[in-house]
Symmetry: C2
Subunit: 447 residues, 2 copies
């Protein structure tokens, strides 16, 4: 018997209105969707009906968007995802939370609670927070340096894992006859003493249905890649070419293997924005309509932010400046910086071309076409090993997601690439990840 064929994984990044910043201006869009739980619930139900692995929510700790033109990432993910979990039964719920402005004990509890409340469907997307506005919301004048943020994130994640492991699976006895409720010998302190944190433990919450929520990360920089290789079970990456993505997947997984995590321990799920039409011409028309509703001043400012340069250095009808480089040790967004530059490499792009190619978006790859064309691209990347799946960002919600689930998913299913039914009940089972035991060596770091 041959091994079952490798299966594609699909998450949807539920955005406030859509990947395209002007999506809220479409005739059927509700401008208040970004603060309406029903918007997120509806998207999750569409994705669940199509057997997606998970929904994904980003997060920020300040207003980083240009709010005069577009909705913001507003609702806190763990709270919102509990409402999403209550309205679904199978789909995973992955939320972002920053290691920069939280305490590990609180984060361990919130994601463990989400795992209990969702019946084993929770994932934590580990991020560090780089913007100066966030720093000023948490008592700092400026953002801590890049290396320091990642060192803190690494220790933070170790503490969270140790807290999740501080209860054995069978610690709750609940024997009504004897009156014995919990076996105290199976609930142990973690006694963590590190550079950034001292946490005694144990967690005040039993081990979760998945053993541990799934760990997700998005590491573009060197430090980010190291964090991903050490802890991530899935990475939400950004890449515009198969070659880039394949090299990234190999690098992360080789490093993870060197750290003793086994072969291909980290699923690579590149971000993928989609604009779908019944014909290619229709898809292109939809794209142009959406782009025409984005002010160029908005896109220029956003691109300048991604590239870490003053907006005055960008001119719509000229190529990008040739001397672009992320400041050394700086807090730029490595992922989007490199992904954006890879788009123009070796070609004569004007800034206007580049903004159109990015659809005014934040640096992720955009596919415009028919369901067949999009399925072909997905299959090509998947078969080449450049992706284990994708983190989808439809142009607009819910229409763009519905276009994908109605149009693209059936093609992927017919080609044997994507499940027709859920086989498991937990996010770990959807992703094909093992359930971590309590004794995985993470418990005690240093006495």
């Amino acid at each position: 018997m041959s091994a079952p064929p490798r299966q594609l994984h699909l998450n949807v990044n539920i955005l406030h209105s859509g990947f395209i910043p002007s999506a809220w201006r479409l005739p059927d869009a509700d401008p208040l969707a970004f603060i309406d739980a029903a918007h997120y619930v509806k998207a999750a139900q569409i994705a669940e009906a199509a057997k997606f692995d998970a929904v994904f929510l980003a997060d920020n700790a300040s207003i980083i968007e240009q709010i005069d033109f577009r909705p913001i990432t507003a609702l806190e993910p763990t709270v919102l995802l509990a409402a999403v979990a209550a309205a679904t039964t199978r789909i995973g719920v992955i939320g972002t939370a920053s290691t920069s402005y939280n305490e590990p004990y609180n984060i361990a509890r919130r994601f463990a609670t989400l795992d209990h409340v969702s019946g084993g469907r929770a994932g934590w997307n580990i991020v560090t927070t780089a913007d100066a506005g966030s720093a000023r919301n948490f008592g700092l004048d400026a953002t801590p340096d890049h290396a320091g943020r990642y060192a803190r994130a690494d220790e933070f994640t170790e503490v969270v894992k140790a807290l999740w492991n501080s209860w054995d699976d069978d610690a709750v006895v609940g024997d009504k006859q004897s009156g014995r409720f919990i076996d105290e010998a199976k609930v142990k302190p973690i006694a963590h003493r590190g550079k950034y944190f001292r946490v005694q433990g144990p967690l005040n919450l039993p081990r979760t249905p998945q053993g541990q929520p799934v760990l997700v990360q998005a590491g573009g920089s060197g430090d980010g890649r190291e964090l991903a290789a050490r802890h991530a079970e899935a990475v939400f990456s950004a890449a515009h070419t198969q070659e880039e993505s394949l090299a990234y997947s190999r690098a992360i997984n080789e490093r993870a293997a060197a750290l003793g995590r086994g072969p291909h321990a980290v699923k690579i799920l590149p971000g993928l924005a989609t604009i779908i039409g019944a014909t290619e011409a229709e898809a292109l028309r939809r794209r142009d309509e959406l782009i025409d509703m984005i002010p160029w001043s908005y896109s220029l400012k956003r691109l300048a932010g991604t590239l870490g340069i003053p907006v005055e250095r960008l001119h719509l009808d000229q190529p990008l400046p040739s001397d672009l480089a992320l400041p050394a040790g700086g807090n730029g967004n490595h992922t989007f910086f490199h992904a954006t530059l890879s788009l123009v490499q070796g070609r004569r792009h004007t800034v206007r071309d580049l903004i159109r190619a990015l659809c005014g978006g934040g640096g992720h790859r955009v596919l415009v076409g028919t369901p067949e064309q999009i399925a072909d691209e997905i299959e090509a990347w998947f078969k080449a090993g450049a992706a284990d799946g994708f983190n989808l960002m439809p142009d607009a919600f819910p229409s763009g997601l519905q276009d994908f689930t109605d149009g693209v998913v059936p093609i992927l299913q017919r080609r044997g690439l994507f499940r027709r039914e859920y086989e498991g009940r937990t996010l770990r089972e959807h992703f094909g990840l093992a359930r971590p035991g309590a004794d995985n060596g993470d418990r005690v770091r240093a006495a």
Copy 2:
């Protein structure tokens, strides 16, 4: 026309298994209810069917219970309450979060999110955290002193309110035609510079349906009462006699009035545990059965903790030691210390009598009797002005709550004391509280 009669308010404190520590041992109890969202959802649905004002969830940041004998407060309230809100439509959802081991920006966001997700039903129960175990989970060797904890709580709450007020009600424009999304002039920094916090703001989340989530507190100490008078809209108090509760209500409300908050600005909702039977004898039998399942060693340790003395000083068949006093400036639980002492005042109680009177519980008043008897007590306190309502703690879930809603609520309704239908949609409307405007003077504290 006369003013509409004053209406009673009822919250239910959804406990892991019930007020009585042995509730999990009842034949129909599920020992795993404490980590099962369905347990909390079911209780909320029972309470909503009976038109309760709100459900209430306590919280801790360490294991403070004797886990060998009983379930613990485990699931994090804001996440759990989002799931509860998703399964209900009208009832308020009040969650506890500590000012000691959180950041105000994060708490402002989580409760604002809960208010959005629940459609205006969120409340925040403001607590400080006194136990040494919690301190050790957040990098400290010992708990900060009482006055310092309350000074931090006061500033923390001011920052949270200012963040909630940092968006005007009409800041979101969402005009598809012009492309204008948010009016930036209506979203303002708070520029808070205080002793404990520096927070620039604004919040990255629009103003919530209630303007602000409802502020709840439980202030027993002098500092706690001051915090309640300054910020609380409802207080979850502890009192065993009408006189105590009336004096407490007058003191808090006089202080609130002196602070410019208007007459009777703070609703007083004493904790009330109930054990209900069709006859008094049946209720007493249920009580005795439950008490007989609590190990005396457990209750002695718990009482010693409440009183702040070594357990060796307590002897079941002797009176309490006569020299009890909370250590000056200490971190004892003022509310339960005084409530417990008031129970024995002027009477010859043995420690065993006292533990039976407390039902092995934590210091709150316990009523044992028929629905009629319990309704009589509720009416008496309410009419005397000793309570605006109660925070109920049924002996066991869901049976004890169902006994209350089936038995006591119809009597209260017949007597015109409690609503038969919800009139409002938000928790503020249930409680009869005004919606705070954005310009209530809390925005900027100091430049």
